[in-house]
Amino acid sequence: MTEPTKELLNVSGLSITARVGDRDLRLLEDVDLEIGRGEIVGVVGESGSGKTTLARAVVGLLEKNVRVGGGSISLSGDEIVAPGVDRTGKVRGTAVGMVFQDASRSLNPLMKVRAHLAEVLRRHVKEITKDEVERRSVEVLEQMRITDAARVLDSYPHQLSGGLRQRVAIGLAVVTRPSMVIADECTTALDVTTQTKVVGLFRTLVDELGIGLLFVTHDLMLASDLCDRIAVMNSGRVVEQGPAMEVLDRPREDYTQRLLAAIPTWT
């Protein structure tokens, strides 16, 4: 049984700096964020606000010149990131899955979908048999609402449509049955109708699998559709955080108001 409110990911007081030349640049400052099982938390903000840095810090995919200056990240109660501590290698690909912006570039163009899935499964599931790999590959594609799984498995990434490709990428992230998925701008490269479908897919996945989803986007409307809670970021800080409707309907912060005002309207 998964309690919707049970704490899964806990980011507290996280500060991250990048060393550029002989100066330290603050990327994140004192960021607090919590995600529970079965919960979707949206992180919104403009380019350079630190959304992606936050997402990548959880899986330890930061650049070499970037280090954690303070605070910590813990997953299911275990500390995985703290100053001088990096235990993300243990959760990467197993407990945490990640989906990237553009699936046409996040899949190896020389490998069929089958090989992509098999690679992840073989890496993370001990002594998995060939039949089991096949079974779980088909299973996860069906979970992604892909009807002709057999054909998709035998396709190269470029032979699939953008939406299908992104669903394969999501499948790749959840095939190891992680407890948490991070989606970094993963709908940005899609057209609006495909976006809606992918977003709907995320909702059902979160409800079905009871995972926590960290949904990074710059699209406020999309975030309000999908997310339970929203954190608004600006220049490395979380300026406002709360239930999605509350943040969008009654923005307290000046920055959030300006973000909302920047959305074009029909009138």
Binding site: V59, L61, G89, R92, G93, T94, G97, M98, F100, Q101, D102, R105, S106, L107, N108, P109, L110, M111, E119, V120, R123, H124, Y156, H158, Q159, A169, L172, A173, T176
Partner: protein, 296 residues
């Protein structure tokens, strides 16, 4: 049971499909003459169809059979010692092809590996390797060849050492820059995100994506190896008698050009055709390797 499968061919992807098919057929049609050359060179000597290869001082500098004074006993003529050119061409072809293939391998193997390490891991390893590459490329090839061969004498292992030393730097530099481009692609980040190890990313994902480059380098290097060997043999530093290659045949025919042009012409033609075919095949393979350009 007869079953007709219709290709789902929409108008949209038709030109691409046709292009892919052309690449596959060109790979085939370029392989045919190469296989024929290899077969001639390796099978003809054991059939006993070739003219006697020994010296025959009564028949020196005989022209090819299709010219006045030529005989079909020596279809491509004889050299200044009366040795049959066709027989020499076939027997030295073996050594030439071997030098081309092994010479390319010894340059590409280390070159690609070094370039891969430098391009993927960057850092101090990259700095050291880059300096080494620059230093190597700054040294004239002929100087290295002279230094090594005058010190160690000329033999096949030494020839391969020279080919490796002169060829690795260019391979490493090209591989390094291509690797640097590939490592920045998002799927590498994706692989890290699913927990793939660095070694696995480098050898199972980055290396296959380099295949096109490696094939192109490889075929170029086969051509280069054959040409370098010819040049060294020409200077008397490469293959020395009793062994002979197309390069050494070319060299021995060069002072006879005004009286007996065929001695140098046929090995020269053989080198040109072989190197050209190998380079064209490399081009075709390059297109063929990429599944995006290949027909399903």
């Amino acid at each position: 049971m007869s079953q007709i499968e219709l290709e789902p061919l929409t108008q949209g992807d038709a030109p691409e499909a046709r292009k892919g098919r052309r690449s596959r057929t060109s790979v085939f049609w370029l392989s045919v003459p190469l296989v024929v050359i290899a077969a001639l060179v390796f099978i003809l000597p054991i059939t006993g169809l070739l003219p006697e290869g020994g010296q025959d001082l009564s028949n020196t500098r005989l022209p090819p059979a299709f010219l006045d004074g030529g005989t079909w006993a020596h279809p491509l003529g004889t050299d200044k010692r009366g040795q049959d050119i066709l027989t020499q061409l076939v027997t030295s072809g073996r050594l030439t092809i071997m030098i081309g293939l092994v010479g390319a391998l010894v340059a590409i193997g280390p070159g690609v590996l070094i370039g891969l390490v430098a391009g993927y891991f960057r850092g101090w390893a990259d700095k050291v390797i880059s300096i080494l590459i620059d230093a190597q490329l700054a040294l004239p090839f002929i100087l290295i060849a002279l230094a090594i061969i005058s010190n160690r004498g000329s033999s096949l292992p030494i020839l391969f050492l020279v080919l490796a030393l002169t060829g690795w730097a260019a391979c490493a530099r090209v591989t390094r820059s291509t690797t640097m481009a590939i490592r920045e692609r998002q799927f590498v980040l994706g692989l890290r995100a699913v927990g793939a190890s660095e070694a696995r990313i480098v050898f199972r994902h980055v290396l296959p994506n380099l295949a096109g480059t490696i094939v192109a380098l490889g075929t170029l290097q086969v051509g280069t190896a054959i040409l370098v060997e010819s040049a060294l043999s020409f200077l008397g530093l490469g293959v020395v008698p009793p062994k002979s290659s197309w390069g050494s045949m070319l060299a021995s025919g060069q002072d006879e050009l005004s009286q007996a042009w065929w001695i140098a012409f046929f090995p020269g033609l053989a080198i040109t055709v072989l190197v050209l075919l190998v380079n064209l095949l490399g081009d075709a393979l390059l297109t063929h390797h990429d599944p995006r350009k290949r027909r399903r």
